[in-house]
Amino acid sequence: MTVQDNQWIAIGALDDIPRQGARRVITNAKTIAIFRTSQDAVYALEDRCPFKDGPLSAGIVHGTTVSCPLTNWVISLETGEAQGADVGKTGVFPVKVEGGRISLCLEEKQLQNA
């Protein structure tokens, strides 16, 4: 999908998130977890594990996955899908980094393969 220019919302700086860490963006509808990997890639997922609703922003980030703090389900940061034998998916949001600033689109991404 293409995000219109006016859909991007500035949410903060890349350096506000530690490497292999996450921060939350709170909206009335939902909380979104913004992840920064060791390679400085940034991803955005709904902050809710598809299994027991665990806050993914509190999980441990490894590679491009995060382990849920409640159940250790491993969720892909790219697709929102549970890895391994587990089945489930959480919402993925478009996010971009320009000049060290992060912008988020609050409209959920429709992934082609999802």
Binding site: I11, G21, S38, P55, H62, V74
Partner: protein
């Protein structure tokens, strides 16, 4: 001594797995075997047996008199010989006299015992049940001092005499001790048996430095082990390069560089002049050039000497060893000999493979007339210290009629040299890349003409066909005669036929029935490949208890390597120990973070992103994503002011639930993440710190009211509990750590199911540990009694530190103690004052970095990103 009858088989190990067989039975074990049936024997032997029985009948008037076999020595070679005899189907009546006070164990595996990776139980070959089941009586600690060949009896020093019809001498060898001044000082050790290994471990536990004299296999094994245990190690070697008997100078140089890079000081061309002592104890070594090296122990590993005294006294032919025919017969037809004490064909042997061959030959001759004869073969030498794999076989001296093919890759640190004579391989030395060792050895043995492949020979087997070699295809292409297990001389054909005949499906079964990979274990991969080929889909690789899917290492190996290689960051561990994932996972990263916190206090920077959320935000996450907060109350004591502050916090932040915990604390449940910092600030202001109720670390010390109030109280249990908690708080440990102090044996604070429990008694304090009352229930085991509170603190601090340094992540103290053995823990912490003090001091040092209140730090602004959202649009959206 033995707690179970299991016999564990060795697997791959990464450090100091020297392929050497140090068979040093001292002169003195007698084994007494009696034939009771004749099945399985040849016709000739039946005749022999009948004639013996006829003699017996003449003497005693009836036919049940049994033929007696006495064996002197209870090491690996006679042990193997007995197995062959038993396999032949005979039921024997056996009596063993063993100079060592223990059963037969795998001496190849002493180095993992030295490094702490294995326990003695792990390396037992024949446990007590084995002797019993096979009708063998074992006299341990009974050294045979006399053979009377006329009367056909042997007599031990402790007065036991046995008569024999056949005698087997397996007296092994003794370490050679250089007779320099000071060689008899306390602290001069050899490296030959379990006692030496334990002595080295004890010495290493006290820290300090060690000098190893001898840079051969055994010396380097000892040096690597002591280095891993944290000692400063210097190796003195007389020759210009290390392991000159097995390696050429180039490979010896590479090995030296590698060992030096780990902090082992290697000094070649060093000749020891004397060992210097102080008050009868070693304090240094002086070289003949005047150099002085300070040290606390000296390990002599300069060689072994066949132990021939008993044979010599009995008038048998003795040269360097006990001289035998290739049928293992000595100069007395009724006496055979096996093991390191033997000289056969002018050679004496120290590696396991030829010794096992001797065992087989001797057994065959004991079963009756046999053609079996010992044949000399080149035995490859492998040294498996992680990062310095080497392999050598055959003859590698230079000569006019010899050619060398050499490959060096300085960047990767590999070196390969193949020595050729008349277009045949006669030797090979490999360093760094040793995968082709077996292939070169096969060609060396078969005498294959290599002219057609000499251009690519040095690149290894993979290059002969063009493509990369598939290990399974390589095994498939091996002939049935190809040797898979060098230690035990087991061919591929033997393994395949046993698997098929007996329906074996697991590695453990294959080891039990064929012995393949059951000694040093380096051929385990090959054996697994043979199993995979034979069983097809029925073969499943055994589950190795690795830390997680990211690594092939188990927790013990990782902990050991972190110290040995001085790995001080998570990326360093992941890189050096070859993790299969780029940055680990949620299972291994918290474990690595703990190991590094524990091993490098003050140096390692705690990686917050590798901690679970509870330890990152210093509160316990609840099922709804809120948190619980528990302030510390030392010893379970609180005050009205503290209680008022807690009540105010609960009101101010609308905390829905306030609960008293099992550990005598107050738990505030349902705190929102964004409220954590202000909640802590209010609690801090009232003088309270984090109760660490979330930590893999010290949680609580629970107490009863003790002698202050209780009419039964014997000591001030509350006061002691407070002191213990003030000592221990802030410490991270492998898993949570909960203590209790009870004022009397009525045990109101439930000390007997805690990780560490103290029970006060009139005479002082009982220290207990290893209790559990969760999923698993078990009572504590007593560490010992002490008299003063100061001692309680020292013993508990030392015990905690020992657990911190050797526990596996998430392993509670009871599991840790079950694994190490309660007697062992007691011997280190209770019985050995020096080790206890060393652990206690390390604990105190570590605590200087750990006793910082994480709540206060965060109230001051640390890790602020954890607690506040990056952006909050909820109000703005609501306003729209």
């Amino acid at each position: 001594m033995l707690t179970s009858s299991r016999v564990k088989m060795p697997r791959h190990n990464d450090v100091a797995d020297l392929h050497i067989f140090a068979l040093f039975e001292s002169a003195a074990t007698a084994l007494h075997v009696t034939f009771s049936k004749g099945q399985g024997c040849g016709a000739e032997f039946m005749k022999h047996l009948v004639s013996q029985r006829a003699k017996a009948k003449m003497g005693h008037g009836y036919m049940t008199q049994k033929l007696k076999l006495v064996v002197v020595g209870n090491g690996m070679a006679p042990g193997r010989m007995l197995e062959h005899l038993l396999d032949a189907g005979d039921a024997y009546d056996v009596t063993i006299f063993n100079a060592e006070p223990r059963v037969n164990y795998d001496r190849i595996m002493l180095s993992p015992v030295l490094s702490g990776e294995k326990s003695f139980d792990d390396i037992i070959i024949h446990d007590e049940a084995w002797y019993k089941d096979n009708g063998i009586t074992l006299h341990m600690g009974a050294k045979v001092s006399k053979i009377d060949r006329e009367a056909k009896t042997v007599t031990s020093e402790n007065g036991i005499t046995e008569s024999y019809d056949k005698l087997v001498l397996a007296t092994g060898s003794d370490p050679f001790i250089i007779p320099c001044p000071g060689h008899d000082l306390e602290g001069v050790l050899a490296y030959r048996d379990l006692d030496d290994t334990n002595a080295m471990r004890d010495a290493a536990g006290k820290g300090g430095s060690a000098v190893v004299i001898g840079g051969g296999l055994l010396g380097l094994e000892a040096a690597a082990g002591l280095n891993i245990l944290g000692m400063d190690v210097t190796v003195l070697h007389l020759m210009p390069t290390l392991m000159e008997r097995q390696l050429d100078t180039a490979a010896g140089y590479l090995l030296e560089k590698e060992l030096e890079s780990r902090g082992i000081d290697i000094r070649c061309k060093s000749n020891t002049k004397q060992i210097i002592g102080e008050d009868g104890k070693v304090c240094g070594v002086e070289l003949d050039d005047g150099t002085l090296i300070k040290c606390d122990i000296v390990v002599m590993a300069v060689g072994i000497r066949p132990n021939v005294q008993l044979a010599k006294d009995a008038g048998l032919e003795v040269n360097r060893g006990i001289v035998t025919t290739n049928g293992m017969q000595t100069s007395d037809p009724d006496i055979l000999s096996v093991g390191e004490c033997v000289e056969v064909g002018g050679m004496v042997y120290g590696l396991v493979a030829p010794l096992y061959q001797m065992a087989k030959v001797a057994a065959s001759h004991l079963m009756g007339p046999s053609d079996a004869g010992f044949v000399h073969t080149e035995t490859p030498t492998k040294l498996k210290v992680t990062g310095c794999d080497l392999y050598s076989v055959g003859d590698f001296a230079e000569g006019d009629d010899r050619e060398d093919i050499v490959l060096r890759d300085a960047k990767s640190g590999t070196y390969k040299r193949v020595i050729i004579q008349d277009n045949k391989i006669i030797g090979a030395v490999l360093y760094g890349a040793v995968d082709d060792g077996g292939w070169y050895n096969e060609m060396l043995k078969s005498g294959e003409d290599i002219s057609d492949m000499r251009d690519t020979l040095i690149f290894g087997q993979a290059f002969q066909g063009g493509g990369a070699v598939d290990p399974l295809a390589m095994v498939a292409n091996m002939s049935d005669d190809a040797e898979i297990c060098g230690c035990n001389g087991i061919t591929k054909g033997t393994i395949v036929s046993k698997i098929n005949a007996m329906g074996l499906t697991t590695l453990a079964e294959v080891r039990a029935h064929t012995k393949a990979s059951a000694s040093c274990g380096t051929c385990t991969g090959l054996v697994e490949n043979v199993m995979a080929l034979t069983l097809g889909d029925d073969f499943k690789l055994p589950d190795v208890e690795t830390m997680c899917g990211c690594t092939k290492h188990d927790h013990g190996t990782v902990r050991r390597m972190i110290k040995a290689k001085e790995l001080k960051t998570i990326p360093a561990v992941i890189q050096e120990l070859e993790w299969s994932t780029p940055e680990g996972c949620a299972k291994c990263r918290p474990a690595l973070n703990y190991y590094l916190v524990s091993d490098w206090p003050g140096e390692y920077v705690d990686d917050q992103q590798s901690r679970f959320i509870n330890e990152r935000v210093h509160a316990n996450i609840q099922k709804d994503g809120t948190y619980s907060v528990v302030p510390r109350m030392f010893g379970g004591i609180t005050t009205p002011d503290e209680l008022r502050a807690i009540a105010d916090v609960a009101d101010k932040f609308s905390i829905p639930t306030v609960k008293v915990t099992g550990g005598q604390r107050i738990d505030l449940l349902g705190v929102k993440k964004d409220d954590l910092i202000p909640v802590w600030k209010d609690l801090n202001d009232a003088g309270m710190v984090s109760g660490a109720a979330y930590a893999k670390g010290l949680r609580t010390v629970k107490t009863c009211v003790g002698s202050d109030w209780c009419r039964f109280g014997t000591q001030d249990s509350t006061g002691l509990g407070i002191k213990l908690e003030r000592l221990l708080w802030g410490a991270w440990s492998p898993a949570k750590l909960k203590l209790a102090v009870s004022g009397c044996p009525r045990n109101c604070s439930e000390s007997t199911c805690k990780d560490i429990g103290i029970v006060c008694v009139d005479s002082g304090y009982e220290i207990l540990y290893g209790g559990a009352a969760g999923l698993h229930i078990q009572g504590t085991t007593k560490l010992g009694n002490v008299e003063t509170e100061e001692e309680v603190l020292e013993y508990c601090g030392a015990l905690t530190q020992y657990y911190r340094e050797t526990g596996f992540y998430l392993e509670r103290i009871y599991k840790w103690a079950d694994r190490l053995g309660y007697d062992h823990v007691k011997s280190v912490i209770y019985d050995d004052a020096e080790q206890r003090k060393a652990y206690y001091e390390r604990f105190l040092f570590s605590q200087t970095f750990a006793q910082v209140d994480p709540w206060a730090e965060r109230v001051q602004g640390a890790e602020a990103h954890e607690f506040s959202p990056l952006a909050d649009f909820s109000s703005r959206e609501a306003a729209e």
